[in-house]
């Protein structure tokens, strides 16, 4: 098993364990010494001193989702770009930089087309312009 060279990952595991340890340890330590006087008022959610109205787990605006969507597309794009970018220097040294450059350009430009589309259609605008009346209506009904 020593051939697998997995020892490099040791510190990561150790650090994750340490993080759990620090968090758990401090919480456990605190639970021994800290006061514990819960009452009903203390355990209500903060809403500027008023009684909380309803649950906070309500519907949210869909534009959060659109942002996350563009993000995940670019995330995946970067995941594909990383290895190609890593070999770019090597390819450039052996004289294949031009072809790789072209393929990177193609790849990126297609995605740029996507973001331009979203830009033009206003998906990137957080506040929609006022003459645009396509605000979500159902989501706000209840």
């Amino acid at each position: 098993m020593s051939t697998l060279n997995l020892d490099v990952y040791m510190p990561i595991v150790i650090l994750i364990a340490l993080a759990l340890l620090v968090a758990g340890g401090s919480l456990f330590l605190g639970s021994l010494i800290r006061p514990q006087h819960p009452n009903k008022l203390k355990e209500t959610a903060y809403e500027c001193g008023e009684e909380p109205v309803g649950s906070a787990w309500a519907n949210f605006n869909v534009r959060f989702y659109v942002v996350a969507l563009i993000f995940i597309i670019f995330d995946v794009e970067s995941a594909l770009m990383f290895p190609v970018a890593a070999v770019f220097k090597k390819f450039n040294e052996i004289g294949l930089g031009g072809t790789l450059l072209m393929s990177i350009l193609t790849f990126v430009s297609v995605l740029v087309a996507g973001i331009v589309y979203c830009w033009k259609k206003g998906d990137l605008d957080w506040v929609k312009s006022f003459n645009q009346t396509n605000q979500p209506t159902i989501a706000k009904k209840d």
Binding site: P11, F71, D75, S78, F88, G98, L105, L124
Partner: protein
Amino acid sequence: MNSTVVSYFSQSNEFQNVTNWLTQILGFNASSLVAFIIFAVFSLIIVGAMATIGGLGTYAERKISADLQARIGPNRVGPFGILQFLADGVKMILKEDIVTTNADRFTFNLAPVLCLVGVFATLAVVPYSSGFMLADLNVGIFYLVGMASLVGVGVFLGGYASNSKWSMLGGMRGASQIISYEIPATLSIIAIVLLAGGLSMKTLIDGQGGAPQDWYIFHNPFAFMGFFVYFISALAETNRAPFDLPEAESELVSGYHTEYTGMKFGLFALAEYIEVFVVCGVAVALFLGGYKVPFDLGSGQILVEKLGLDGMLAQNIGQFLELGSFFTKTLLLYYVVIWVRWTLPRLRVDQLMTLCWKYLTPIALVNLIGCAVWMYAFNGKSIFALIFHAAGSAGGH
């Protein structure tokens, strides 16, 4: 494992002796065990150092803000109030732990731990010096990006679990801000990866030199812009001002950790301050020459030749110089981060999104393409190399 702590130590004879001795005693190959012990010790050291830096960060923040606002700041605990962070820590532990009735307990407890795990795991690949690196992964920077995105999940879950409207808004905003700004940051990183030709931190830093003209920030105009794009995105990713929308106290009370008290809040804060350090360290490693020291002092060769020092000793001195170099640059950036916080007003949420998607991301894409074209056109030479080459050929022969 070519440039981690263990490999650095394994250069010395004592390490071999200890390993052999342990192997004889225990009856199996103990190199892994020794490595584990060394890693554990150094992880503890780093975590300790980071906790201190995080704590000192809070102190520095208050002190610097006081300076900027012509106040004195904390001055009671210890000399110049420097032990203030210890007092804060003790206070955190002693505070009552409140979980609201409607909260999702499991998630509520998990969220700060997730943040902390994400940040601590990134510490493994931060290059402190050429010999003092916990893990030199082949995918180092990419791994860092992945682990750092755990913080977004933590923030979101923290906001969700509280079941408070302020928290929920803060959590949603925080998560979408973190993921949004990850894009320009990642694109800037890809541009540097293009220049360096590898993902491991060692490769990224070895492509640079000690002197500023060898840093990637001055490699070409696009990388120069890329540094600022990365730095702004990093600020936003760590929810620092002027991007502290998720915890905007004037509108969201305290954002996603409104309902958190005591040590759980402390964990969020610790994670945030350490993350600031990490992103500053990454900025240094990627753009500002990392741990490199001018005149190749880091490897100690010059000390051996000029001063006739022992090889191992010279190397150790070099390591400390490198550590100093890295920490100096990083802490300078850390200072800039705090400075920015108290100088610039907070952005509105729509300005935040506009800045990310309509300015930083297109600029980062242009930088990426520009770096690729530069690499292709000038065969990977930096702008200074070109200028020196041109000047040399103009002046000489």
